[in-house]
Protein backbone atom coordinates (compact mmCIF):
# COMPACT_ATOMS: atom_id res chain seq x y z
CA UNK A 1 0.00 0.00 0.00
CA UNK A 2 1.46 3.34 -0.94
CA UNK A 3 2.04 5.99 1.66
CA UNK A 4 -0.10 8.59 0.02
CA UNK A 5 -3.22 6.45 0.36
CA UNK A 6 -3.02 6.59 4.12
CA UNK A 7 -3.75 10.18 4.94
CA UNK A 8 -6.50 10.30 7.57
CA UNK A 9 -8.90 12.05 5.28
CA UNK A 10 -8.79 9.16 2.91
CA UNK A 11 -9.13 6.69 5.73
CA UNK A 12 -12.35 8.47 6.59
CA UNK A 13 -13.43 8.39 2.97
CA UNK A 14 -12.57 4.73 2.61
CA UNK A 15 -14.84 3.88 5.47
CA UNK A 16 -18.06 3.49 3.62
CA UNK A 17 -21.32 4.60 5.14
CA UNK A 18 -19.61 6.96 7.55
CA UNK A 19 -20.37 10.67 7.64
CA UNK A 20 -17.36 12.67 6.48
CA UNK A 21 -15.55 14.64 9.17
CA UNK A 22 -16.38 18.34 9.58
CA UNK A 23 -14.57 20.53 7.12
CA UNK A 24 -12.24 22.11 9.67
CA UNK A 25 -11.35 18.70 11.00
CA UNK A 26 -10.59 17.38 7.54
CA UNK A 27 -8.34 20.33 6.80
CA UNK A 28 -6.63 19.76 10.10
CA UNK A 29 -6.31 16.05 9.33
CA UNK A 30 -4.61 16.78 6.08
CA UNK A 31 -2.27 19.26 7.66
CA UNK A 32 -1.28 17.39 10.81
CA UNK A 33 0.00 14.06 11.90
CA UNK A 34 -1.46 10.67 11.28
CA UNK A 35 -1.60 8.16 14.10
CA UNK A 36 1.85 7.15 15.45
CA UNK A 37 1.44 3.74 13.84
CA UNK A 38 1.20 5.14 10.37
CA UNK A 39 3.83 7.76 11.08
CA UNK A 40 6.33 5.18 9.93
CA UNK A 41 4.77 5.08 6.50
CA UNK A 42 4.90 8.82 6.16
CA UNK A 43 8.35 9.34 7.50
CA UNK A 44 10.14 9.99 4.22
CA UNK A 45 8.09 12.94 3.07
CA UNK A 46 7.48 14.11 6.59
CA UNK A 47 11.13 14.08 7.48
CA UNK A 48 11.95 16.40 4.61
CA UNK A 49 9.14 18.78 5.45
CA UNK A 50 9.98 18.82 9.15
CA UNK A 51 13.67 19.39 8.66
CA UNK A 52 13.09 22.09 6.10
CA UNK A 53 10.64 23.97 8.24
CA UNK A 54 12.72 23.70 11.40
CA UNK A 55 15.79 24.92 9.56
CA UNK A 56 13.85 27.81 8.05
CA UNK A 57 12.56 28.66 11.52
CA UNK A 58 16.09 28.65 12.78
CA UNK A 59 17.26 30.97 10.04
CA UNK A 60 14.36 33.31 10.78
CA UNK A 61 15.27 33.34 14.46
CA UNK A 62 18.89 34.03 13.52
CA UNK A 63 17.90 37.09 11.55
CA UNK A 64 15.45 38.14 14.18
CA UNK A 65 18.21 38.24 16.74
CA UNK A 66 21.25 38.84 14.60
CA UNK A 67 24.20 37.99 16.72
CA UNK A 68 27.33 36.21 15.53
CA UNK A 69 27.85 34.45 18.83
CA UNK A 70 24.77 32.36 18.23
CA UNK A 71 26.09 30.87 15.03
CA UNK A 72 27.75 27.80 16.61
CA UNK A 73 24.31 26.59 17.56
CA UNK A 74 23.39 26.28 13.92
CA UNK A 75 25.01 22.91 13.13
CA UNK A 76 23.80 21.41 16.42
CA UNK A 77 20.35 22.71 15.76
CA UNK A 78 20.31 21.26 12.27
CA UNK A 79 21.59 17.88 13.47
CA UNK A 80 18.98 17.86 16.22
CA UNK A 81 16.21 18.67 13.75
CA UNK A 82 17.43 16.05 11.38
CA UNK A 83 17.53 13.37 14.06
CA UNK A 84 14.15 14.50 15.26
CA UNK A 85 12.72 13.92 11.85
CA UNK A 86 14.14 10.42 11.42
CA UNK A 87 12.02 7.53 12.50
CA UNK A 88 14.88 5.48 13.91
CA UNK A 89 16.60 8.29 15.80
CA UNK A 90 13.44 10.14 16.60
CA UNK A 91 13.71 9.75 20.35
CA UNK A 92 17.42 10.37 20.38
CA UNK A 93 16.95 13.64 18.54
CA UNK A 94 14.10 14.73 20.75
CA UNK A 95 15.90 13.89 23.99
CA UNK A 96 19.03 15.62 22.72
CA UNK A 97 17.15 18.76 21.80
CA UNK A 98 15.30 18.76 25.11
CA UNK A 99 18.55 18.40 26.97
CA UNK A 100 20.29 21.02 24.90
CA UNK A 101 17.59 23.61 25.22
CA UNK A 102 16.74 22.61 28.75
CA UNK A 103 20.36 22.91 29.76
CA UNK A 104 20.71 26.46 28.49
CA UNK A 105 18.22 28.15 30.79
CA UNK A 106 19.52 25.98 33.62
CA UNK A 107 23.08 27.09 32.89
CA UNK A 108 22.06 30.68 32.51
CA UNK A 109 20.25 30.68 35.79
CA UNK A 110 23.12 29.21 37.73
CA UNK A 111 25.75 30.99 35.62
CA UNK A 112 27.50 27.71 34.86
CA UNK A 113 28.34 28.83 31.34
CA UNK A 114 29.56 32.32 30.92
CA UNK A 115 27.56 34.35 28.42
CA UNK A 116 25.00 31.57 28.16
CA UNK A 117 22.39 34.23 27.67
CA UNK A 118 23.95 34.80 24.27
CA UNK A 119 22.30 31.57 23.18
CA UNK A 120 19.11 33.54 23.09
CA UNK A 121 16.64 32.02 25.40
CA UNK A 122 13.67 33.31 23.48
CA UNK A 123 14.52 30.79 20.79
CA UNK A 124 14.62 28.13 23.49
CA UNK A 125 11.18 28.99 24.72
CA UNK A 126 10.00 29.12 21.18
CA UNK A 127 11.14 25.59 20.65
CA UNK A 128 10.04 23.97 23.88
CA UNK A 129 6.38 23.52 22.89
CA UNK A 130 7.50 22.37 19.48
CA UNK A 131 9.64 19.65 20.99
CA UNK A 132 6.97 18.66 23.47
CA UNK A 133 4.43 18.31 20.71
CA UNK A 134 6.75 16.22 18.64
CA UNK A 135 7.36 13.93 21.61
CA UNK A 136 3.73 13.57 22.50
CA UNK A 137 2.03 13.42 19.17
CA UNK A 138 3.92 13.31 15.93
CA UNK A 139 5.98 15.09 13.44
CA UNK A 140 3.39 16.76 11.32
CA UNK A 141 1.66 18.13 14.38
CA UNK A 142 5.05 19.50 15.35
CA UNK A 143 5.25 21.35 12.11
CA UNK A 144 1.88 22.95 12.59
CA UNK A 145 2.68 23.80 16.19
CA UNK A 146 6.00 25.29 15.22
CA UNK A 147 4.42 27.40 12.54
CA UNK A 148 1.69 28.58 14.88
CA UNK A 149 4.11 29.26 17.71
CA UNK A 150 6.77 31.03 15.72
CA UNK A 151 4.31 33.07 13.71
CA UNK A 152 2.58 34.13 16.89
CA UNK A 153 5.88 35.01 18.50
CA UNK A 154 7.11 36.94 15.49
CA UNK A 155 3.87 38.83 15.14
CA UNK A 156 3.87 39.64 18.83
CA UNK A 157 7.44 40.82 18.71
CA UNK A 158 6.90 42.84 15.62
CA UNK A 159 3.85 44.41 17.18
CA UNK A 160 5.89 45.26 20.25
CA UNK A 161 8.57 46.82 18.09
CA UNK A 162 11.18 44.46 19.45
CA UNK A 163 12.10 42.79 16.18
CA UNK A 164 15.78 43.49 16.60
CA UNK A 165 15.82 43.60 20.34
CA UNK A 166 17.98 41.19 22.26
CA UNK A 167 15.58 40.35 25.00
CA UNK A 168 13.55 37.54 26.50
CA UNK A 169 9.99 37.35 25.39
CA UNK A 170 7.62 38.83 27.89
CA UNK A 171 5.63 36.54 30.11
CA UNK A 172 2.46 37.43 28.28
CA UNK A 173 3.96 36.34 24.96
CA UNK A 174 5.17 33.12 26.43
CA UNK A 175 1.81 32.35 27.83
CA UNK A 176 0.25 32.96 24.44
CA UNK A 177 2.70 30.64 22.77
CA UNK A 178 2.20 27.89 25.32
CA UNK A 179 -1.56 28.09 25.27
CA UNK A 180 -1.60 27.97 21.48
CA UNK A 181 0.62 24.95 21.29
CA UNK A 182 -1.18 23.14 24.09
CA UNK A 183 -4.52 23.66 22.38
CA UNK A 184 -3.12 22.31 19.13
CA UNK A 185 -1.48 19.40 20.94
CA UNK A 186 -4.61 18.41 22.78
CA UNK A 187 -6.71 18.66 19.65
CA UNK A 188 -4.31 16.48 17.72
CA UNK A 189 -4.06 14.05 20.57
CA UNK A 190 -7.81 13.64 20.79
CA UNK A 191 -8.14 13.27 17.06
CA UNK A 192 -5.37 10.68 16.87
CA UNK A 193 -6.45 8.59 19.82
CA UNK A 194 -10.18 8.59 19.39
CA UNK A 195 -10.96 9.18 15.75
CA UNK A 196 -8.10 8.01 13.59
CA UNK A 197 -7.21 5.10 15.88
CA UNK A 198 -10.71 3.70 15.53
CA UNK A 199 -10.63 4.02 11.78
CA UNK A 200 -7.18 2.59 11.65
CA UNK A 201 -8.26 -0.46 13.59
CA UNK A 202 -10.96 -1.10 11.06
CA UNK A 203 -8.52 -0.55 8.25
CA UNK A 204 -6.15 -3.05 9.81
CA UNK A 205 -8.89 -5.62 10.23
CA UNK A 206 -9.90 -5.10 6.63
CA UNK A 207 -6.31 -5.45 5.51
CA UNK A 208 -5.89 -8.66 7.48
CA UNK A 209 -9.03 -10.05 5.95
CA UNK A 210 -7.78 -9.04 2.53
CA UNK A 211 -4.47 -10.77 3.10
CA UNK A 212 -6.21 -13.92 4.23
CA UNK A 213 -8.41 -13.93 1.18
CA UNK A 214 -5.43 -13.26 -1.00
CA UNK A 215 -3.70 -16.29 0.46
CA UNK A 216 -6.79 -18.36 -0.22
CA UNK A 217 -6.87 -17.06 -3.76
CA UNK A 218 -3.25 -17.92 -4.38
CA UNK A 219 -3.84 -21.43 -3.11
CA UNK A 220 -7.03 -21.78 -5.06
CA UNK A 221 -5.36 -20.52 -8.19
CA UNK A 222 -2.51 -22.98 -7.82
CA UNK A 223 -4.93 -25.85 -7.29
CA UNK A 224 -6.87 -24.77 -10.34
CA UNK A 225 -3.76 -24.71 -12.50
CA UNK A 226 -2.69 -28.11 -11.27
CA UNK A 227 -6.20 -29.30 -11.85
CA UNK A 228 -6.19 -28.01 -15.42
CA UNK A 229 -2.89 -29.71 -16.07
CA UNK A 230 -3.96 -33.05 -14.61
CA UNK A 231 -7.26 -32.84 -16.41
CA UNK A 232 -5.63 -32.15 -19.74
CA UNK A 233 -3.20 -35.03 -19.32
CA UNK A 234 -5.80 -37.48 -18.15
CA UNK A 235 -8.18 -36.54 -20.93
CA UNK A 236 -5.48 -37.01 -23.46
CA UNK A 237 -4.93 -40.67 -22.59
CA UNK A 238 -8.43 -41.78 -23.72
CA UNK A 239 -8.15 -39.48 -26.69
CA UNK A 240 -5.08 -41.35 -27.86
CA UNK A 241 -7.24 -44.47 -27.94
CA UNK A 242 -10.14 -42.78 -29.67
CA UNK A 243 -7.91 -41.45 -32.42
CA UNK A 244 -5.82 -44.58 -32.67
CA UNK A 245 -8.71 -47.02 -32.93
CA UNK A 246 -10.71 -44.72 -35.20
CA UNK A 247 -7.85 -45.04 -37.68
CA UNK A 248 -7.71 -48.80 -37.25
CA UNK A 249 -11.43 -49.18 -37.62
CA UNK A 250 -11.49 -47.00 -40.71
CA UNK A 251 -8.81 -49.15 -42.31
CA UNK A 252 -10.75 -52.31 -41.47
CA UNK A 253 -14.04 -50.96 -42.78
CA UNK A 254 -12.39 -49.76 -45.95
CA UNK A 255 -10.98 -53.19 -46.48
CA UNK A 256 -14.39 -54.77 -45.85
CA UNK A 257 -15.92 -52.46 -48.44
CA UNK A 258 -13.30 -53.39 -50.98
CA UNK A 259 -14.07 -57.07 -50.59
CA UNK A 260 -17.86 -56.70 -50.53
CA UNK A 261 -20.13 -56.30 -53.55
CA UNK A 262 -21.50 -52.76 -53.70
CA UNK A 263 -25.13 -53.94 -53.97
CA UNK A 264 -24.78 -55.99 -50.74
CA UNK A 265 -24.10 -52.92 -48.74
CA UNK A 266 -26.69 -51.03 -46.68
CA UNK A 267 -24.53 -47.94 -46.49
CA UNK A 268 -22.21 -46.31 -48.98
CA UNK A 269 -18.51 -46.09 -48.40
CA UNK A 270 -18.70 -42.28 -48.75
CA UNK A 271 -21.06 -42.18 -45.76
CA UNK A 272 -18.71 -44.24 -43.68
CA UNK A 273 -15.78 -42.06 -44.64
CA UNK A 274 -17.79 -39.01 -43.66
CA UNK A 275 -18.63 -40.54 -40.29
CA UNK A 276 -15.04 -41.38 -39.64
CA UNK A 277 -14.17 -37.87 -40.75
CA UNK A 278 -16.44 -36.47 -38.02
CA UNK A 279 -14.88 -38.76 -35.44
CA UNK A 280 -11.37 -37.83 -36.44
CA UNK A 281 -12.18 -34.12 -36.64
CA UNK A 282 -13.73 -34.10 -33.18
CA UNK A 283 -10.84 -35.98 -31.67
CA UNK A 284 -8.36 -33.57 -33.25
CA UNK A 285 -10.40 -30.59 -32.04
CA UNK A 286 -10.43 -31.98 -28.53
CA UNK A 287 -6.73 -32.59 -28.71
CA UNK A 288 -6.12 -28.98 -29.71
CA UNK A 289 -8.35 -27.80 -26.92
CA UNK A 290 -6.39 -29.82 -24.41
CA UNK A 291 -3.19 -28.42 -25.86
CA UNK A 292 -4.42 -24.90 -25.29
CA UNK A 293 -5.62 -25.74 -21.81
CA UNK A 294 -2.22 -27.12 -21.04
CA UNK A 295 -0.64 -24.03 -22.55
CA UNK A 296 -2.74 -21.80 -20.33
CA UNK A 297 -1.88 -23.83 -17.28
CA UNK A 298 1.76 -23.74 -18.26
CA UNK A 299 1.67 -19.97 -18.81
CA UNK A 300 0.66 -19.67 -15.19
CA UNK A 301 3.48 -21.85 -13.94
CA UNK A 302 6.34 -21.45 -16.37
CA UNK A 303 9.39 -19.59 -15.06
CA UNK A 304 9.62 -16.24 -16.78
CA UNK A 305 13.02 -15.24 -18.10
CA UNK A 306 13.24 -11.48 -18.16
CA UNK A 307 15.40 -9.85 -20.78
CA UNK A 308 15.40 -6.67 -22.80
CA UNK A 309 12.69 -7.20 -25.39
CA UNK A 310 12.16 -4.95 -28.40
CA UNK A 311 8.42 -4.54 -28.59
CA UNK A 312 8.76 -3.40 -32.20
CA UNK A 313 10.29 -6.74 -33.12
CA UNK A 314 7.42 -8.57 -31.44
CA UNK A 315 4.89 -6.55 -33.39
CA UNK A 316 6.75 -7.13 -36.67
CA UNK A 317 6.69 -10.87 -35.98
CA UNK A 318 2.97 -10.83 -35.22
CA UNK A 319 2.27 -8.85 -38.39
CA UNK A 320 4.30 -11.25 -40.49
CA UNK A 321 2.17 -14.10 -39.13
CA UNK A 322 -0.93 -12.22 -40.27
CA UNK A 323 0.63 -11.22 -43.59
CA UNK A 324 -1.80 -13.25 -45.65
CA UNK A 325 -4.90 -11.70 -44.07
CA UNK A 326 -3.39 -8.23 -44.07
CA UNK A 327 -2.65 -8.36 -47.78
CA UNK A 328 -5.71 -10.19 -49.03
CA UNK A 329 -8.09 -8.02 -47.02
CA UNK A 330 -6.11 -4.82 -47.60
CA UNK A 331 -5.93 -3.99 -43.93
CA UNK A 332 -4.14 -0.79 -43.09
CA UNK A 333 -1.68 -1.06 -40.22
CA UNK A 334 -0.33 1.95 -38.39
CA UNK A 335 2.58 0.80 -36.26
CA UNK A 336 4.17 3.55 -34.21
CA UNK A 337 7.61 3.05 -32.68
CA UNK A 338 7.46 1.19 -29.37
CA UNK A 339 10.01 1.15 -26.54
CA UNK A 340 11.95 -1.85 -25.29
CA UNK A 341 11.00 -3.46 -22.00
CA UNK A 342 12.36 -6.09 -19.65
CA UNK A 343 10.06 -9.05 -20.06
CA UNK A 344 9.83 -12.70 -20.98
CA UNK A 345 10.40 -12.72 -24.73
CA UNK A 346 8.43 -15.82 -25.68
CA UNK A 347 5.56 -15.03 -23.38
CA UNK A 348 5.26 -11.50 -24.67
CA UNK A 349 5.45 -12.68 -28.26
CA UNK A 350 2.47 -14.92 -27.61
CA UNK A 351 0.62 -12.01 -26.03
CA UNK A 352 1.32 -9.84 -29.05
CA UNK A 353 0.40 -12.62 -31.50
CA UNK A 354 -2.87 -13.09 -29.69
CA UNK A 355 -3.83 -9.43 -29.58
CA UNK A 356 -2.76 -8.65 -33.14
CA UNK A 357 -4.40 -11.87 -34.31
CA UNK A 358 -7.65 -10.90 -32.58
CA UNK A 359 -7.55 -7.41 -34.06
CA UNK A 360 -7.31 -8.92 -37.55
CA UNK A 361 -9.75 -11.72 -36.87
CA UNK A 362 -12.58 -9.56 -35.57
CA UNK A 363 -12.46 -6.83 -38.20
CA UNK A 364 -15.72 -5.97 -39.84
CA UNK A 365 -15.66 -7.44 -43.38
CA UNK A 366 -18.09 -4.69 -44.42
CA UNK A 367 -15.58 -1.83 -44.24
CA UNK A 368 -11.85 -1.22 -44.71
CA UNK A 369 -9.90 -2.50 -41.73
CA UNK A 370 -7.43 -0.35 -39.82
CA UNK A 371 -5.20 -1.47 -36.99
CA UNK A 372 -3.23 0.99 -34.89
CA UNK A 373 -0.47 0.03 -32.49
CA UNK A 374 1.17 2.55 -30.19
CA UNK A 375 2.58 2.95 -26.70
CA UNK A 376 2.46 5.39 -23.81
CA UNK A 377 4.97 5.45 -21.03
CA UNK A 378 5.60 7.17 -17.74
CA UNK A 379 8.21 6.68 -15.03
CA UNK A 380 6.75 3.42 -13.83
CA UNK A 381 5.22 1.63 -16.75
CA UNK A 382 4.78 1.20 -20.46
CA UNK A 383 1.28 0.77 -21.85
CA UNK A 384 0.87 -0.78 -25.29
CA UNK A 385 -2.33 -0.20 -27.24
CA UNK A 386 -3.69 -2.31 -30.07
CA UNK A 387 -6.69 -0.72 -31.68
CA UNK A 388 -8.93 -1.97 -34.44
CA UNK A 389 -12.01 -0.59 -36.16
CA UNK A 390 -13.64 -4.00 -36.11
CA UNK A 391 -17.01 -5.19 -34.99
CA UNK A 392 -16.47 -4.32 -31.32
CA UNK A 393 -17.61 -6.07 -28.17
CA UNK A 394 -20.84 -5.49 -26.28
CA UNK A 395 -20.42 -3.98 -22.84
CA UNK A 396 -21.91 -7.06 -21.17
CA UNK A 397 -19.27 -9.24 -22.79
CA UNK A 398 -16.26 -7.13 -21.88
CA UNK A 399 -15.43 -8.88 -18.61
CA UNK A 400 -16.31 -12.29 -19.98
CA UNK A 401 -13.82 -12.29 -22.82
CA UNK A 402 -10.85 -12.75 -20.49
CA UNK A 403 -12.27 -15.91 -19.00
CA UNK A 404 -11.20 -19.29 -20.36
CA UNK A 405 -13.57 -20.74 -22.99
CA UNK A 406 -15.78 -17.67 -22.91
CA UNK A 407 -16.22 -15.61 -26.02
CA UNK A 408 -18.23 -12.57 -26.91
CA UNK A 409 -21.63 -13.39 -28.34
CA UNK A 410 -20.92 -11.66 -31.64
CA UNK A 411 -17.76 -13.70 -32.23
CA UNK A 412 -20.11 -15.96 -34.18
CA UNK A 413 -18.48 -18.39 -36.52
CA UNK A 414 -15.04 -16.82 -36.21
CA UNK A 415 -12.55 -19.54 -35.55
CA UNK A 416 -11.18 -19.72 -32.03
CA UNK A 417 -11.42 -21.56 -28.77
CA UNK A 418 -11.72 -18.69 -26.33
CA UNK A 419 -8.45 -19.26 -24.54
CA UNK A 420 -6.28 -16.59 -26.13
CA UNK A 421 -7.26 -13.68 -23.91
CA UNK A 422 -7.23 -15.77 -20.75
CA UNK A 423 -3.69 -16.64 -21.72
CA UNK A 424 -2.82 -12.98 -22.38
CA UNK A 425 -4.19 -11.91 -19.03
CA UNK A 426 -2.34 -14.64 -17.14
CA UNK A 427 0.97 -13.76 -18.75
CA UNK A 428 0.64 -10.01 -18.35
CA UNK A 429 -0.40 -10.38 -14.73
CA UNK A 430 2.63 -12.52 -14.10
CA UNK A 431 4.74 -9.67 -15.47
CA UNK A 432 3.13 -7.40 -12.91
CA UNK A 433 1.06 -5.62 -15.54
CA UNK A 434 -2.59 -5.34 -16.41
CA UNK A 435 -4.74 -5.89 -19.43
CA UNK A 436 -7.60 -3.59 -20.31
CA UNK A 437 -10.13 -3.33 -23.07
CA UNK A 438 -12.30 -0.57 -24.39
CA UNK A 439 -14.82 -1.22 -27.04
CA UNK A 440 -17.87 0.04 -28.78
CA UNK A 441 -20.12 -2.25 -30.69
CA UNK A 442 -19.74 -1.64 -34.39
CA UNK A 443 -16.94 0.89 -33.90
CA UNK A 444 -13.92 -1.08 -32.84
CA UNK A 445 -11.92 -2.30 -29.90
CA UNK A 446 -8.78 -1.14 -28.14
CA UNK A 447 -6.85 -3.66 -26.10
CA UNK A 448 -4.05 -2.36 -23.92
CA UNK A 449 -1.59 -3.96 -21.57
CA UNK A 450 0.82 -2.38 -19.16
CA UNK A 451 4.26 -3.60 -18.21
CA UNK A 452 6.20 -2.23 -15.26
CA UNK A 453 9.51 -0.62 -16.17
CA UNK A 454 12.33 -2.55 -14.61
CA UNK A 455 16.02 -2.09 -14.46
CA UNK A 456 18.17 -5.19 -14.98
CA UNK A 457 18.88 -5.15 -11.21
CA UNK A 458 15.23 -5.12 -10.31
CA UNK A 459 14.72 -7.88 -12.80
CA UNK A 460 16.91 -10.22 -10.79
CA UNK A 461 14.52 -10.00 -7.90
CA UNK A 462 11.45 -10.49 -10.02
Amino acid sequence: MSASTLIPEQIAMAKSGQEPLPRWMRLYNVLTAPHPDIKAVHVGRQARITSTILVVLFIISLFTFSSLERLPIAPLYVIGCYLLSRRKHYWLGAVGMLFFFGFVPFATYFEIVRNAHLLDLSAVWLLMPVILTSLLIGLQATVITAIAVSTTALVVRFALGELFAYEFLTNGDLLLILVASIVISVATFIRDRYIVAGQLQELRDAQRELQRRNQDLILYNRELRDFASILAHDLRAPLVNIRGFTDELQALVREAFQNAQPEDSLVQQEDVDEFFGFLEESAVAMDELLDQLLGLSRAGRRELTLELVRLDALVEHSLVMQRHSLQSRQIEVEHQPLPSVYADHDGLQQVMDNLVGNAVKYLDPGRPGTIRIWADEDDEKVVIYIQDNGRGIAEDDLEKIFQPFRRARNSGETDGRGLGLAFVRTLIRRHGGQVAVQSQLGQGTTFSFSLPKRTPEATEAA
Partner: protein, 131 residues
Protein backbone atom coordinates in the same frame (compact mmCIF):
# COMPACT_ATOMS: atom_id res chain seq x y z
CA UNK B 1 19.58 -61.15 -30.54
CA UNK B 2 16.19 -61.56 -32.15
CA UNK B 3 14.85 -63.39 -29.14
CA UNK B 4 15.04 -60.24 -27.03
CA UNK B 5 11.74 -59.11 -25.63
CA UNK B 6 10.50 -55.55 -25.32
CA UNK B 7 9.10 -54.76 -21.91
CA UNK B 8 6.10 -52.42 -22.28
CA UNK B 9 5.14 -50.72 -19.04
CA UNK B 10 1.68 -49.39 -19.81
CA UNK B 11 -1.49 -49.40 -17.74
CA UNK B 12 -3.76 -48.26 -20.56
CA UNK B 13 -4.84 -51.37 -22.46
CA UNK B 14 -5.75 -49.41 -25.53
CA UNK B 15 -2.37 -47.74 -25.73
CA UNK B 16 -0.65 -51.09 -25.37
CA UNK B 17 -2.80 -52.59 -28.09
CA UNK B 18 -2.17 -49.71 -30.49
CA UNK B 19 1.54 -50.03 -29.85
CA UNK B 20 1.35 -53.72 -30.60
CA UNK B 21 -0.59 -53.18 -33.84
CA UNK B 22 1.71 -50.46 -35.12
CA UNK B 23 4.96 -52.20 -34.26
CA UNK B 24 3.73 -55.39 -35.85
CA UNK B 25 2.73 -53.49 -38.97
CA UNK B 26 6.27 -52.12 -39.14
CA UNK B 27 7.69 -55.60 -38.81
CA UNK B 28 9.05 -55.19 -35.32
CA UNK B 29 8.60 -58.79 -34.36
CA UNK B 30 10.26 -58.87 -31.00
CA UNK B 31 7.88 -60.28 -28.41
CA UNK B 32 6.22 -57.63 -26.28
CA UNK B 33 5.89 -58.28 -22.57
CA UNK B 34 3.20 -55.95 -21.27
CA UNK B 35 3.04 -55.11 -17.58
CA UNK B 36 0.48 -52.72 -16.11
CA UNK B 37 2.22 -51.16 -13.16
CA UNK B 38 5.57 -49.94 -11.98
CA UNK B 39 5.83 -52.63 -9.35
CA UNK B 40 5.12 -55.33 -11.92
CA UNK B 41 7.83 -53.84 -14.11
CA UNK B 42 10.29 -53.99 -11.23
CA UNK B 43 9.38 -57.60 -10.51
CA UNK B 44 9.90 -58.42 -14.16
CA UNK B 45 13.28 -56.73 -14.30
CA UNK B 46 14.42 -58.32 -11.05
CA UNK B 47 12.93 -61.66 -12.01
CA UNK B 48 10.86 -61.81 -8.84
CA UNK B 49 7.81 -64.02 -8.20
CA UNK B 50 5.88 -64.83 -11.37
CA UNK B 51 8.76 -63.56 -13.45
CA UNK B 52 11.46 -65.81 -12.00
CA UNK B 53 11.91 -67.56 -15.32
CA UNK B 54 11.87 -64.60 -17.72
CA UNK B 55 14.84 -63.38 -19.70
CA UNK B 56 15.90 -59.76 -19.11
CA UNK B 57 14.32 -57.58 -21.84
CA UNK B 58 16.36 -55.86 -24.53
CA UNK B 59 14.39 -52.61 -24.29
CA UNK B 60 11.88 -50.91 -22.01
CA UNK B 61 9.01 -48.80 -23.35
CA UNK B 62 7.81 -46.83 -20.39
CA UNK B 63 4.67 -44.82 -19.76
CA UNK B 64 5.22 -42.13 -17.14
CA UNK B 65 1.72 -42.07 -15.74
CA UNK B 66 1.34 -45.37 -13.88
CA UNK B 67 -1.11 -46.36 -11.18
CA UNK B 68 1.34 -47.23 -8.41
CA UNK B 69 4.82 -45.82 -8.75
CA UNK B 70 5.34 -43.22 -11.46
CA UNK B 71 7.55 -43.84 -14.46
CA UNK B 72 10.03 -41.32 -13.09
CA UNK B 73 10.20 -43.22 -9.79
CA UNK B 74 10.77 -46.42 -11.68
CA UNK B 75 13.67 -44.90 -13.61
CA UNK B 76 15.12 -43.62 -10.36
CA UNK B 77 14.84 -47.04 -8.74
CA UNK B 78 16.65 -48.88 -11.49
CA UNK B 79 19.28 -46.19 -11.84
CA UNK B 80 22.67 -47.70 -11.03
CA UNK B 81 21.26 -51.21 -10.62
CA UNK B 82 23.51 -53.37 -12.68
CA UNK B 83 22.74 -54.99 -15.11
CA UNK B 84 19.18 -53.59 -15.31
CA UNK B 85 20.42 -50.06 -15.87
CA UNK B 86 22.10 -51.20 -19.09
CA UNK B 87 18.73 -51.76 -20.75
CA UNK B 88 17.77 -48.80 -22.96
CA UNK B 89 14.60 -47.00 -21.90
CA UNK B 90 12.21 -45.14 -24.19
CA UNK B 91 9.55 -42.98 -22.60
CA UNK B 92 6.05 -42.81 -24.01
CA UNK B 93 3.95 -40.14 -22.38
CA UNK B 94 0.85 -38.03 -22.84
CA UNK B 95 2.70 -35.19 -21.16
CA UNK B 96 5.27 -32.98 -22.76
CA UNK B 97 5.75 -31.06 -19.54
CA UNK B 98 9.33 -29.96 -19.34
CA UNK B 99 9.60 -30.57 -15.59
CA UNK B 100 8.47 -34.17 -15.91
CA UNK B 101 11.03 -34.91 -18.57
CA UNK B 102 13.81 -33.05 -16.85
CA UNK B 103 13.23 -35.11 -13.71
CA UNK B 104 13.55 -38.25 -15.85
CA UNK B 105 16.61 -37.02 -17.69
CA UNK B 106 18.45 -37.11 -14.42
CA UNK B 107 17.73 -40.82 -14.13
CA UNK B 108 18.57 -41.50 -17.75
CA UNK B 109 16.53 -42.50 -20.76
CA UNK B 110 17.23 -43.06 -24.44
CA UNK B 111 14.45 -40.92 -25.91
CA UNK B 112 10.88 -39.89 -25.32
CA UNK B 113 7.77 -39.75 -27.48
CA UNK B 114 4.58 -37.85 -26.81
CA UNK B 115 1.56 -40.05 -27.39
CA UNK B 116 0.48 -40.85 -29.97
CA UNK B 117 4.05 -41.37 -31.14
CA UNK B 118 5.14 -41.17 -34.76
CA UNK B 119 5.28 -44.94 -35.06
CA UNK B 120 7.72 -44.93 -37.98
CA UNK B 121 10.26 -43.04 -35.88
CA UNK B 122 9.66 -45.27 -32.89
CA UNK B 123 10.10 -48.37 -35.00
CA UNK B 124 13.35 -47.04 -36.45
CA UNK B 125 14.66 -46.37 -32.97
CA UNK B 126 13.77 -49.84 -31.77
CA UNK B 127 15.42 -51.42 -34.77
CA UNK B 128 18.50 -49.31 -34.10
CA UNK B 129 18.65 -50.40 -30.48
CA UNK B 130 17.87 -54.08 -30.89
CA UNK B 131 19.60 -54.64 -34.21
Amino acid sequence: MSHKTILVVEDNRGHAKLLQIHLHRREIDYPLAIVKSGQEALDYLRQNGDYAAVEPPGLILLDLNLPDISGAELLKTIQGQHPIDQIPRIILTTSDEREDLEACREYGYYSYHVKPPVYDDLADEIRGLLG
